[in-house]
Symmetry: C2
Subunit: 394 residues, 2 copies
């Protein structure tokens, strides 16, 4: 094998994440590494936590990025809040609810599953029923933005039901943070995790989390040891907590944190609500084009995430061949279906920096051309114009 | 708080890690992000695994970087190999042996501690005795290169003893990989973890690991579920394993992996043995200077790591004031003592890109000046010349 420096191709990333990274973020990541206990780094950490609070819309003191991808943020919530023997109600309407179930079981706890059809939102009535049947449940976990389908559940209502039954909530916001409305304090979410590589448009590898006092009471009150040393909040908070002095726990991923900081500065400059509006607008343009082609969405309009669009693959079309043609000819990445939806859908992301008119038009034009070339039964040549019409309205 | 892009100061990093990062690595990390399932990324992953094998001196198929810092690499080894109820012999001669004990306990297993004085190497006779007294022990864990003290234990002998007692070995090589002799296959090490930010001179955030067939048999034979979903090898290997198709487990930290790849290309260009020799030579120069000042090392010569030098703080000197003066006036970071050694030692790293003559001379000159200014009882003005003399011999 010839050994040499690696120069990746330049892609347009419109899959389920990573999304296109703003060059300002890449530049920030290339700044000189300094020590993780350097006083000059502590200021950056404080600002980073504050920017995350502003993005989660929370005053939670404990708000920081876990030093690993979103799955580790999920695990941070579960291992710290779930104790062996607990009953945990898990709402599943896609892949990531299933991953929550795995976490509950690996904590030695009992998952009570509330199942909804993939592509639909979590049904609050089913959660209500599950909690009535399981009055000893202590925790409710659900996915706000199901990345595997693009369904957006009503987090505010689900949290309210959980609290009515004295349960603490764990919410997956990997794909919603920064891209669509998410209000941690207003909705009363107790513990939440997200990812750096979706609507924050940073590189993958970090998982922002936030815990309110109610969640921290559980963590601080534990008499047993959390099963993960690396993710044990009581230890991690020696470094990321509110104490003036930051104590060594593990070595923080310095340059990745520079990148996340820059991503949040960019979001701050745009304004959180403006970012939500931009994602919604780009989604409308994409939707107009997809529907003009005669294709359909998996998720009912109104229940859908603007930033993650699951589109049904037309009958007789090899979805993988479409994706590799898009990648090889247009440098465009869109996502495949996961789990039960493998082979049946494409997932088109419009996340963060990638949620822009150029990407919408590229994606529609390319998809139109490739599907037409394959003889798919679509209305050829209509998609781009339909999208342009939406884009021309502000 | 004023929100703006973060521009770190430029430091010289001679603490226990992160070490100075080669600008080539920073530049590599700023290359365009591509998808974690992009075929163009798969080639990079294959080459990265091969470069890690070359650096660990192993043919182990399962050799890859865990998507999180060294502590998560440690946890990967423990949660996959240790099952509840196991007896695990842990040799402790510093902070990181204690972290191993924490891992064993959190796996529901029983640690049998073999204690040595901090600053000394692990005593093979004590390990021998512990295994004789505990014939039912299944695993032996020890730290090859104790970053908290700078002691380098005889990994080859310790592994041999463990194998004589039918135990599998877990070895911490966070600080040794790339900096001093480490031969995974020749020494028979079964499971090993390291870090990206020490002698590989990459940014922090990744933990290279390697597992031989004997270790994998345990992992594959487990009937219970590994307590961490994120670190479960049987799942992670769907992505990092030897199958032609790479399946989604978690989203890999793409740009951090570009950086690690570049770090390993640089090491490959230098040659592993040349890198070991360079670290040894820079250590000799630093040692000459430190001893010319009249200061002493914590670890006996011959038992020490060249890349991590614990130096005894002279009586009556405020070690923290020395470090902050070095940082503020010289932009030079050296490390404090950890745990039992806090306040008593400095830890001077000579790791990877930072193991160079300029750094040795800067460190000695700065330390000499600062200690002299504080009225410390040292031989002033001798250190730099003593080091130059060593540096002039190749």
């Amino acid at each position: 094998m010839a050994i040499s420096s690696y120069h990746p191709p330049t892609r347009t990333l419109m899959g389920p994440g990573p999304s296109d990274v703003n060059p300002r973020i890449l530049e920030a990541m290339a700044r000189p590494t300094i020590g993780h206990l350097d006083p000059a780094f502590m200021d950056m950490m404080n600002q980073l936590s504050q920017l995350l609070r502003d993005t989660f819309l929370t005053g939670n003191a404990v708000t920081f990025p876990v030093s690993a991808p979103g799955s580790a943020g999920m695990e941070t919530c579960f291992v710290n809040l779930v104790t062996p023997g607990d009953k945990v109600v898990v709402c599943q309407n896609g892949v990531f609810g299933g991953r929550m179930k795995e976490n509950v079981e690996r904590c030695g706890a009992e998952p009570i599953m509330v199942e909804d059809t993939w592509g639909e939102v979590v049904d609050p009535n089913k959660l209500q029923d599950a909690l009535k049947s399981n009055p000893d449940a202590r925790i409710v976990a659900f996915v706000h933005a199901e990345t595997s389908t693009g369904a957006q559940s009503d987090a505010e209502t689900l949290v309210k039901i959980a609290h009515d039954h004295d349960c603490v909530t764990i919410v997956d916001a990997v794909t919603s943070l920064g891209g669509s409305p998410l209000k941690v304090d207003a909705w009363g979410i107790d513990a939440i995790y997200s990812g750096s590589q979706k609507c924050l448009s940073c590189t993958p590898g970090l998982s922002p989390v936030s815990f309110n006092e109610r969640a921290l009471e559980i963590v601080k009150g534990r008499t047993d040891k959390v099963q993960s040393w690396f993710l044990d909040l009581n230890l991690v908070l020696g470094y990321w907590g509110t104490e003036a002095k930051r104590a060594y726990h593990h070595t923080a991923p310095i340059n990745a944190l520079y990148g996340l900081h820059e991503a949040l500065v960019i979001l701050h400059e745009e304004g959180l609500e403006n970012s939500w509006a931009r994602h919604a607008h780009m989604h409308q343009a994409l939707r107009a084009g997809i529907e003009a082609m005669g294709l359909s969405f998996v998720v009912k309009q109104g229940d859908n995430l603007p930033q993650l669009n699951s589109v049904v693959v037309p009958d007789g079309i090899d979805e993988a061949a479409v994706r590799s043609t898009l990648l090889n000819e247009f440098g465009l990445e869109i996502g495949a279906g996961l789990g039960a939806m493998a082979g049946k859908v494409w997932r088109i992301g419009l996340m963060g920096y990638a949620a822009n008119p150029k990407n919408v038009l590229l994606c529609l034009g390319a998809l139109d051309a490739v599907l037409t070339g394959m003889g798919a039964p679509i209305n050829s040549g209509m998609a781009v114009s339909a999208a342009r019409q939406v884009l021309s309205t502000d």
